[in-house]
């Protein structure tokens, strides 16, 4: 191709994506695009009630409906000894007792616990027939009162979601030094307090979830095609814990996946249903969610209610932070749900600041709602939101510029490694510089003039800063294991050098929009000195990849990329041996650079291709010392998390007549460590910002508090961000290298969603603070803003 790919600077270049051609021409292969011979269709019958006892399920009419192949209920699964869906993280309460861990059946038998709970599956020749038949299933429900919010669930007499969880409490966890925090608060010059809510969100990847189960009687092998961010994890969880199928007989394929944002990490009931049932009916079974099903069956995100207190001394230095949070778990414990409001949240509460004493307690609560789990940022947006809100509120109360208050409390750039009081050790960072960059780009100094100009037009203008830190590169197994993770979180890679020197990379990191086929190829091109065109990136298939933990928590490059580097180093090491043999030199004298193995100080060299060919055509190989082949596998387990950080600044304008808000400008200055493909990094930031701003202004999952009905169950009511809701984003990056991975990378996938909500919320309060407004909950809808303005104007008039 004319624009040429050979010789381009591989790392740090905005290489256009290799995957785009297929997506742009309609040739991507998403799960629902796959059709297997003899395929039948599954429809899942779901509960319309939030809490009801099931007296009986009569499937006879459905079973005899036209086209129906089979109808299964929870009893059929029970009869086969099928277990429930596992939770991946054990949390212990303050008193040392383990969390309440109620069962999570694939199909319920005696009770439904949220609208959308799975009751039965109908399998038919066509989807239409399966739906028709499902309407003929007769269920005897005894409807009982439901509880949907965490505060109400803790009230005495609240409906009990699980007998195993008295008071609806899953766990009551804490972290930090309570005594030190209380002492600091006692002697503080000022203590700033705030109650806030982190709104429940529905992830809404544009591709609804889908799954195809297949069973081959001849080989005894199962195959599951699924919309997953981590096919190996699904194979492990579903094979070992649910269906009891040995890994060797279970292949899980996650082909092109249309976005995940966390929601496609978990093992879902539908995957188990189609895999198990495929063996029952001896036909491949396809299930594809409607969007309305996605709303009531994909794990939701956030849903925290928090009280926070920040203690400051007379110089406005932070002395202590105290946080108390209720985290809504929903009706069941999803795969990662329990660690999100604890270890991915409490540990982040130092933020970018030197706060010496921190105490956080989190009570996880069961309710009659869809399970809540990781959604883009997963715990870190919640931590950042409360921290950056309380810092802004403190600045307002103390009459200090919010940027100045942050500057006074930042961890200095020469203070690394920095041990926080909440378990983490930050390896590197430079918070003041990213803030300075953002302030410069946002025209922070000139803001007051713009505020006055807007006021002249009757508009309320505000500017808001949020700085953030996140823990990415999930996760160092040793660290998370000591914290209760039931699995390690390394990554694997295999580098297969083919006989003529082209390379296949088999990676356990799954790409569902992140552009691994391009970024990973850049790494390989750079490291092995070969053209990108001769590099193939293979992912998403347990039959091909050695192992994988998948893509989430901004871990692909930091962990998956590092595994590739490690495997390439093994290839190079072996290549040096082969080259030494070919060049009749000592191995120690062989250098590898730009794709050539060279005898040091000479012009004698062999290319990677020549070495590879020898490896595969080993006519005169010293077999005692060297095996044929050039194919190496490595597993990389990080020593620590990585700590991306940055500063985001939002400038907004509110129309006081309607409460309508316009985002005028959004600036993000981020430190992601080394950047491999700036174009892809910018894209990740854009997407994260849109989701963060969406949370702040538009998105909120609403349940009817009386009936437990999901009221935002479609795009009619769940406000998805649209193009016209945003300005062009202004981005910049500053690099401090990660000190413990070979690439120096930190991760960029979640940053936008972490910084943006607080930046927007701070801008809103800045626009309204002259009215006495201290806080506005998210989403800051027009009516909420209008009401806030009305109430404060009325109050001000009365004073």
């Amino acid at each position: 191709m004319a624009d040429g790919s050979i010789g381009t600077p591989a790392i740090g270049a905005s290489v256009r994506r290799r995957e785009d051609y297929r997506f742009l021409t309609g040739q991507g292969t998403y799960t629902d695009d796959i059709n297997r011979p003899g395929q039948v269709y599954a429809y899942i019958l779901r509960s319309p009630h939030a809490n009801a006892r099931i007296g009986g399920i009569d499937t006879s009419a459905a079973a005899s409906s036209p086209g129906v192949v089979a109808v299964f209920t929870g009893k059929d699964l029970e009869a086969d000894g099928i277990g429930g869906l596992p939770c991946g993280w054990l949390i212990n309460s303050k008193d040392g007792s383990p969390m309440a861990e109620p069962p999570h059946p694939v199909l319920v038998t005696d009770r439904v616990r949220h609208v959308g709970d799975h009751i039965a599956v109908v399998i038919a020749e066509t989807l239409g027939q399966a739906r028709d038949a499902a309407e003929r299933i007769d269920i005897d429900y005894a409807v009982e009162p439901a509880v949907v919010d965490s505060v109400a669930a803790l009230r005495p007499g609240a409906p009990l979601v699980w007998e195993q969880a008295p008071g609806n409490v899953c766990y009551d966890w804490h972290l930090g030094d309570s005594a030190a925090v209380e002492t600091a608060i006692g002697k503080a010059a000022r203590v700033v307090k705030l109650d806030l809510v982190n709104n429940r969100l529905v992830p809404n990847a544009m591709e609804p979830r889908a799954a195809i189960g297949e069973f081959n009687r001849a080989t005894g092998e199962y195959t599951l095609y699924t919309t997953s961010q981590n096919p190996h994890v699904i194979r492990l969880l579903m094979g070992a814990f649910v269906l009891h199928i040995p890994e060797a007989r279970l292949r899980v394929v996650a082909p092109d996946v249309g976005g995940g944002f966390g929601s496609k990490i978990y093992h879902y009931a539908e995957e188990a249903i189609v895999t198990w049932a495929a063996a029952k009916v001896r036909r491949p079974i396809k299930w594809t969610a409607d969007r309305s099903e996605s709303f009531m069956s994909d794990a939701h995100g956030r849903d925290h209610v928090t009280h926070v207190e920040l203690a400051l001394d007379a110089d406005a230095k932070f002395l202590a932070l105290k946080v108390s949070t209720l985290a809504n778990m929903g009706a069941y414990l999803s795969t990662f749900s329990t660690c999100i409001p604890t270890y991915l949240y409490g540990t982040l509460l130092a933020g970018t600041y030197t706060t010496p004493a921190i105490y956080v307690e989190t009570k996880a609560v069961f309710t009659n709602t869809v399970p809540v789990d990781a959604y883009r940022g997963a715990g870190r947006p919640e931590a950042t939101f409360l921290l950056e809100r309380i810092v802004d509120l403190a600045a307002d109360e103390l009459g200090i510029d919010p940027a100045e208050l942050r500057r006074r409390n930042f961890i200095a750039r020469d203070a690394f490694p920095y041990q926080t009081p909440v378990a983490l050790q930050y390896d590197s960072g430079d918070y003041q510089t990213t803030l300075d960059m953002a302030m410069e780009a946002a025209g922070y100094a000139g803001f007051e003039a713009r505020r006055r100009e807007a006021a002249g037009r009757g508009k309320l203008r505000g500017i808001g800063i949020a700085t953030y830190i996140e823990a990415c590169g999930i996760a160092p197994s040793a660290v998370v294991g000591s914290l209760g993770a039931r699995a390690g979180l390394f990554e694997s890679a295999a580098v297969r050098v083919h006989p003529t020197g082209s390379v296949s990379i088999l990676t356990g990191s799954h790409s569902h929009g992140q552009g691994h086929e391009t970024t990973f190829a850049q790494l390989v091109s750079d490291h092995l000195g070969i053209p990108i065109d001769s590099i193939e990136i293979v992912h998403g298939d347990t039959a091909k990849i050695p192992y994988g933990m998948g893509t989430y928590g901004s871990r692909s490059l930091a962990v998956g990329g590092s595994a590739i580097i490690k495997a390439m180093d093994k290839v190079i090491a072996k290549g040096r041996k082969i080259a030494a043999h070919l060049l009749e030199a000592a191995e120690a004298d062989i250098e590898f650079k730009d794709g050539e193995f060279t005898v040091a100080g000479t012009d004698r060299s062999k290319s990677l291709g020549e070495v590879a060919l020898t490896a595969y055509v080993p006519h005169n190989f010293p077999h005692d010392e060297l095996e044929p082949g050039l194919d190496e596998t490595a597993f990389y387990d990080p020593k620590n998390f990585t700590f991306p950080s940055g500063a985001h600044i939002a400038e907004i304008e509110i129309d006081p007549d309607t409460g309508h808000l316009t985002v005028l400008n959004f600036t993000a200055s981020d430190d992601f460590g080394r950047i491999v493909n700036p174009m892809i990094v910018a894209g990740q930031v854009h997407g994260g910002l849109a989701q963060g701003i969406g949370q702040a202004l538009l998105e909120g999952c609403v349940y009817d508090t009386e009936t437990g009905q999901l009221l935002t169950g479609s795009y009619n009511d769940y406000a998805m961000p649209r193009a016209a809701d945003f300005p062009n984003f202004v981005l910049s990056t500053h690099v401090t290298l990660c000190t413990h991975n070979p690439l120096g990378v930190k991760g960029c996938g979640e940053a936008g969603a972490i910084g943006a909500p607080a930046a927007i919320a701070n801008a809103i309060v800045d626009a309204l603070k002259h009215l006495g407004v201290r806080h506005v909950e998210m989403p800051a809808t027009p009516e909420r803003l209008w009401r806030t303005i009305q109430e404060h104007q009325t109050r001000a008039a009365a004073d």
């Binding site: 319309p48 009630h49 609208v115 309407e135 309305s292 709303f295 009531m296 009817d704 009386e706 009936t707 009905q709 999901l710 009221l711 935002t712 169950g713 479609s714 009619n716 009511d717």
Partner: protein, 152 residues
């Protein structure tokens, strides 16, 4: 949601009360009611077809009369399931007050829906419930007009 309303009926309270307990009258007043069967003096099964714009859902369920205080009022409740559309329930507390030869009917009604109707159509729940309650009592007043009161 809660709705309140008031109607003046040109008929004596005793007659109004009797009609409020008469299945045939109720059938004529419940919007979309196709059939009503008496199980006891206070319980009926009913089939109701609800049409709201393009939506048409057939509900089967029961109507219950409770808190009977003849001839001053009662609570009328209905709940039904509409298959794939979900379910609906509603109730109205009705109070009758004599005013000369006429009767003043006051009601406080509430309604709930669940399932797909709630998930997809939450913006319309309120207006629809209001319309149904309004229609019920308007039809009831119509059924009590002098000609129909004596003629049925």
């Amino acid at each position: 949601m809660e709705m309140k309303g008031e109607r003046r009926i040109p008929a004596p309270r005793q007659l109004v009360w009797e009609r409020l307990n008469d299945p045939e009258t109720l059938k004529g007043c419940i919007p979309g009611c196709e059939s009503i069967e008496k199980i006891s003096d206070t319980e009926f099964t009913a089939k109701v077809v609800a049409r709201v714009g393009p939506v048409k859902a057939s509900f089967s369920g029961k109507v219950t009369l409770s808190d009977l205080d003849p001839p001053s009022g009662y609570t009328i409740s209905g709940e039904g399931t509409g298959g794939v559309a979900g379910f609906a329930k509603g109730s109205a507390t009705v109070a009758l007050e004599e005013d000369g030869a006429e009767t003043v009917l006051r009601y406080g009604a509430q309604g709930q829906v669940g399932g797909k109707l709630a998930q997809i159509g939450s913006r319309l729940i309120d207006a629809t419930a209001r319309k149904m309650a309004d229609e019920f009592f308007t039809r009831f007043v119509g059924a009590m007009s002098p000609e129909s009161a004596t003629g049925s």
